[in-house]
Amino acid sequence: MLIPVLIGISIFAFLMIHLTPGDPARLMLGEGAPTEQLEALRTRMGLDQPLPVQYVTWLGSALQLDFGRSLRSNKPVILELRERLPATIELALAAVAIALAIGIPVGVISAVKPNSIFDNVAMVGALAGVGMPPFWQGIMLILIFSVSLGWLPSSGRMGGVEYIILPAITLGTAATASVARMTRSTMLEVLSQDYIRTARSKGLSRGRVIIRHALRNALIPVITIVGLQFGFLMAGAVLTETIFAWPGIGRMMVEAINAKDFPIVQGTIMMFAVMYAFINLVVDIAYAFLDPRLRTQYN
């Protein structure tokens, strides 16, 4: 299942250069490029070969993690990816941490007191979080916390924790909202189950029942949402990294698109696709591991 999908996306990544209107070599070198240079680039990139041959050659090297060299820096694409990847992973993990730390408690409280003031405010807030344009939210946060208050740096990644706070909030907002909504709805469902009433009637405290009996079961679907959110986080990373000048692969992709640096664009697309596939796989495994009904099937 995984492999045909990755082959499909690799065909797309490969074809990108050829889908672009115009001669790829000329696009990369600019209009005024001399013919010899164009010819040299065509030979170097194998653009003079038939398409299927080009694809097989490209895929062959891609499987060995060789995506060619950046047209701008002339460094191998894989090295550039390796340099930039940790920043993106760091940012995504920070965003997920925020989403879980805020989303789960908010969802639980909302579900325990449904239709209370807290619940209504939280759920309108969650809906607002989903609709928040991340690029605008990022700029607004910079305006408030960097420009006006001067508390936090507005861009870069110089090592300190203060640099990641604003980008992580920006990236984590939509995920926090989704986690809160999902936690609330699964908690409501679990809380109406018979075994919750049984646990309460045998004299366990309300808090203990909510944490030990209800939350444990309610969190299983939340894991799927978190997995899905990783996908949205990668997409959001493109915008967030651009605003905060965060040196990750999202910003790298945007810069490469603007500079028509196709090997880098292809490399980042494949990187995102592989990461996404890997996360989905991990979510499936985690799901099987956490759900006792599925776990017994595997043992």
Binding site: V5, F12, R184, F272
Partner: protein, 288 residues
């Protein structure tokens, strides 16, 4: 006959339920406001959206310029109203593309099964290999920047949910007795699909399309913010934010107001979508 009266009764009950949902009504009112503002923009404001007046640049809100002016002295209120036209156009056409292609794919895949089913669904799997916004970005990167390409890209990126939803609806309906009866009396495939299968799938599709509209507007603004969509001086919300950003230390209005426009449009579409889902699917109404 009996079936159609049943349907109208369901529909009016549904609308009643929707009107009782405060969130959905508030959302619908806001959206209607934006839509009317966009449609009648030239009658609401005298300011031309691209008319520059450098001497009057980066001004705060006033009785002349309700939301202030941007870095070229253009009226922000007028640009937001005209930008609404673009956002709604991009939203509706891209969701329309996704609905048409994805819906047809799901319908045929579910009804005929076999090879077509496999082919279409593998294609959908490939589209799902990248998160929607990234896929749209990659497509625009290869087609080139521009609003038309943004519409195509977001349309393609939105195919999977429609195809899957339609396919699963078809699979449920296909086994029902009245479809078998329709086959038995010799109805053509097209008639069965359009008369029996499609009406049963329409409710979830409406919900999906409303939420998809919100997502499409958000994505389009994001792509334009990155410079891949509408090009200046076109009044597009995302590109307005990107262009005014360097001046944010002097005046934040040219960034703040277009952002609020995106935010409220997307939020209210989501509220309407949520309300529709609760009204159309009674099972989910007590949980979400």
């Amino acid at each position: 006959m009996a079936k159609s009266t049943l349907q109208t009764r369901d529909r009016s009950k549904m609308i009643k339920q929707l009107l009782r949902n405060k969130k959905a009504v508030v959302g619908a009112v806001i959206i209607l406001g934006f839509a009317l503002g966009a449609i009648f923009a030239p009658f609401i404001t005298d300011h031309h959206p691209t008319h520059q007046n450098i001497r009057n640049r980066l001004q705060g809100p006033s009785s002349e310029n309700y939301l202030g002016t941007d870095q070229f002295g253009r009226d922000i209120f007028s640009r937001i109203l005209h930008g609404g036209r673009l956002s709604l156009r991009v939203g509706f056409t891209s969701v329309g593309i996704a609905l048409l292609i994805g819906g047809t794919m799901g319908l045929t895949a579910g009804y005929y099964g076999g090879f077509i089913d496999n082919l279409f669904m593998r294609f959908v799997d490939v589209l799902l290999a990248l998160p929607g916004f990234l896929l749209a970005l990659a497509i625009v990167a290869s087609l080139g920047a521009g609003l038309e390409n943004v519409i195509i890209a977001i349309g393609i990126a939105n195919i999977p949910p429609f195809a899957r939803m339609m396919r699963s609806s078809v699979l449920t309906v296909k086994e029902l007795d009245y479809v078998a009866a329709s086959v038995a009396i010799g109805s053509s495939d097209v008639r069965i699909l359009l008369r029996h299968v499609l009406p049963n799938a329409i409710n979830p599709i409406i919900v999906l399309a409303t939420l998809g509209l919100a997502g499409a507007i958000l994505s389009a603004a994001g792509l334009s913010f990155l410079g891949m969509g509408a090009q200046p001086p076109t009044p597009e919300w995302g590109s307005m934010i990107a262009m005014a950003r360097p001046f944010i230390r002097v005046a934040h209005y040219p960034v703040t107001f277009p952002g609020l426009a995106i935010f409220f449009t997307v939020l209210s579409l989501n509220m309407v979508g949520d309300g529709l889902r609760d009204a159309l699917d009674p099972r989910s109404s007590h949980t979400t």
